[in-house]
């Protein structure tokens, strides 16, 4: 028995969410009276693999097949399912991010396992296995019962947190069987975002809506984001108008995010927008309309013109940073 965690890497490094997954799995493994095995695919050095022990992984499997350099859903699913079988995993945990969403359903079918996608916490019961997940676009939680002996979960980011529980993991090379037919797609061109904080991984997000009036007015937002190390986001009308790229769109049909702090600037707060950001720990709304529905969701509100409020806020943050 084991809880298997797929830990994705970015250019050989793990991220906060990888450690959150291990922390979650460790807590779950305690309840199930078993241990945590992490699976890494790709080139990650031993020190980085060993660091997964810090959060409770007792074994790390490293699959370094050269063909697994970019995500091929079918091949990755095969590798992860083979690792689950080898370790006799009863639970397989993924992040609820692009990769997890792409691969977990395929792994579930291979293992004849029930899937809970967008899990929001530990199971309320492990026999029967009932786990809370997000549903209806963040407006509610659903408790899902999984009837199968093996369960596949994708954990919603920032819904559990990181807990240290140092262990000395054994590192094991893992060589799964792969067929040429597992590689039916090939990456022709990669356009990586470098030097920018990823929206789905950001602790602070500065987001703006139609209230900014024009794409030329984004400079004060960029300055605020740079000052506090935030990622930029926007509302749907802004991306539909082409003011900002659609990757920045947060909301029901865009990205669903859960940062610690979310600035909603010139965003009225339509239900579809709130659906994408309601899991944020704190929302700060800046809007000149005091009746904007965003103030119903926000923890802190400022009524005012963004073009004046933003520079003042950036200055206040700079002052804060200088004195701390």
């Amino acid at each position: 028995m084991a809880v298997l965690v797929y830990t994705e890497n970015w250019d050989g490094k793990f991220k906060k969410l990888s450690y959150e997954l291990i922390s979650y799995a460790t807590k779950l493994a305690e309840t199930l009276n078993t241990s945590v095995v992490a699976l890494s695919i790709g080139n990650v050095d031993e020190a980085e693999l060993r660091a997964l022990g810090q959060y409770g992984a007792s074994k790390v499997l490293a699959a370094k097949d050269g063909r697994l350099g970019s995500l091929e859903n079918k091949a990755f699913a095969s590798v992860i399912a083979q690792a689950a079988e080898k370790e006799q995993a009863t639970v397989v945990v993924f992040a609820h991010n692009f990769t997890g969403k792409a691969v977990a359903p395929r792994v579930a079918v291979r293992l004849k396992a029930g899937l809970a996608a967008g899990v929001a916490g530990l199971p309320q019961s492990t026999d029967p296995f009932i786990v809370p997940k997000k549903a209806f676009n963040g407006s509610s939680f659903a408790n899902l019962k999984i009837n199968t002996p093996i369960r596949v979960l994708t954990l919603f980011q920032n819904s559990f947190g990181i807990l240290e529980k140092p262990a000395e993991p054994t590192i094991e090379s893992f060589e799964p069987t792969l067929n040429d037919s597992d590689f039916a797609t090939s990456v022709k061109d990669v356009n990586k975002v470098t030097g920018k904080i990823l929206l789905t991984d950001a602790e602070i997000v500065v987001s703006a809506g139609r209230g900014m009036k024009s794409p030329e007015n984004w400079a004060p937002l960029e300055q605020l984001a740079e000052t506090i190390g935030a990622a930029l986001a926007c509302s749907r009308p802004v991306s539909d108008e082409g003011w900002r790229p659609h990757e920045e769109h947060v909301g029901q049909t865009g990205k669903v995010i859960a940062p610690n702090l979310y600035f909603a600037v010139g965003i009225s707060g339509a239900i579809q927008h709130v659906a994408g950001v309601s899991s944020s720990k704190f929302i700060v709304a800046i809007n000149k309309d005091k009746d904007a529905p965003i103030f119903d969701t926000a923890a802190y509100g400022v009524i005012g013109d963004a073009m004046q409020v933003l520079p003042a806020l950036t200055a206040a943050f700079k002052e804060f940073k200088a004195s701390n």
């Binding site: 859903n73 792409a102 579930a108 899937l115 209806f136 509610s140 990586k192």
Partner: protein
């Protein structure tokens, strides 16, 4: 070559979500049903590809798993321009059940390319496309934000955590699509609505599968505390609150 677009029948995105029977059942009273937004964009793009393929793409079919209540949604998909439709006559019990039903349709009709929306806007599982591809043994590409067809080959733009990649893929293939695949969904015109009435909509019985998961009950999140207002002239105060009270900076 034939394209299948999988359609989910979901509550309108402005629906106020309520539950009944001791929070065990989603209350559908007064709910307006629509084509899942991503599926609607997928259908729009599939039709554009067909129209510009010079006859290489012969047909765009839509399929849904749903009871008769889903018929207006599937008729709307026909009105938008799909050539024909399948409805598997059952409640979509869970993602695996739904994927297994759609797999039967694909096997029977032999589609080369299948589009699924990245998730449905009700249960947000995002699993049907991936499961469908695995059941069929097809390749899959997820979080696709553009599909093009040129010189007899498809290319896909997909978003990854940290960038974008352009891929080629051998058919048969399941493309799981998100925003960007089409800018705006196509709106049915009067002629489309008239034509939709006579287009084939085949109802097929559900195949039996394992019952892997079921919803036990639902919870609404705790109510938020009232918003604390900070004077626009006093941003130092806001920074102070974020530091000492929220403790997020």
């Amino acid at each position: 070559m034939k394209i299948l677009v999988c359609i989910s029948n979901v509550p309108d995105t402005t629906t106020k979500i309520r539950f009944k029977d001791n929070n065990s059942v989603f209350d559908t009273t007064g709910v307006q049903w629509i084509i899942n937004p991503w599926d609607e964009l997928a259908l729009t793009r599939a039709l554009e590809l067909k129209e510009t393929s010079g006859g290489a793409i012969e047909k765009v079919t839509v399929a849904t798993v749903g009871l008769t209540g889903a018929e207006p949604t599937i008729r709307k998909a026909l009105a938008i321009g799909a050539d024909d439709a399948f409805r598997v006559d059952s409640d979509p019990v869970d993602a695996y059940f739904t994927a297994a039903q759609l797999a039967e349709v694909v096997k029977k009709e032999g589609y080369d390319l299948v589009f699924c929306g990245i998730e449905s806007s009700d249960y947000n599982g995002g699993a049907v496309g991936g499961m469908l591809s695995e059941i069929l043994g097809f390749a899959s590409i997820s979080s696709v934000s553009a599909v093009n067809y040129e010189n007899g080959a498809f290319t896909f733009l997909r978003e990854i955590d940290g960038g974008k990649e352009t891929l080629s893929g051998n058919l048969p293939l399941v493309a799981i699509v998100q925003k960007g695949i089409a800018i705006n969904p196509r709106i049915p015109n009067m002629r489309g609505i008239m034509n939709a009435r006579s287009k084939p909509l085949v109802v097929i019985p559900a195949a039996s599968t394992d019952n892997q998961t079921q919803y036990v009950n639902y919870e609404l999140p705790p109510a938020k505390a009232k918003c604390k207002m900070v004077d626009a002239e006093n941003m130092t105060e806001l920074v102070h609150l974020l530091h000492t009270e929220a403790k997020v900076i």
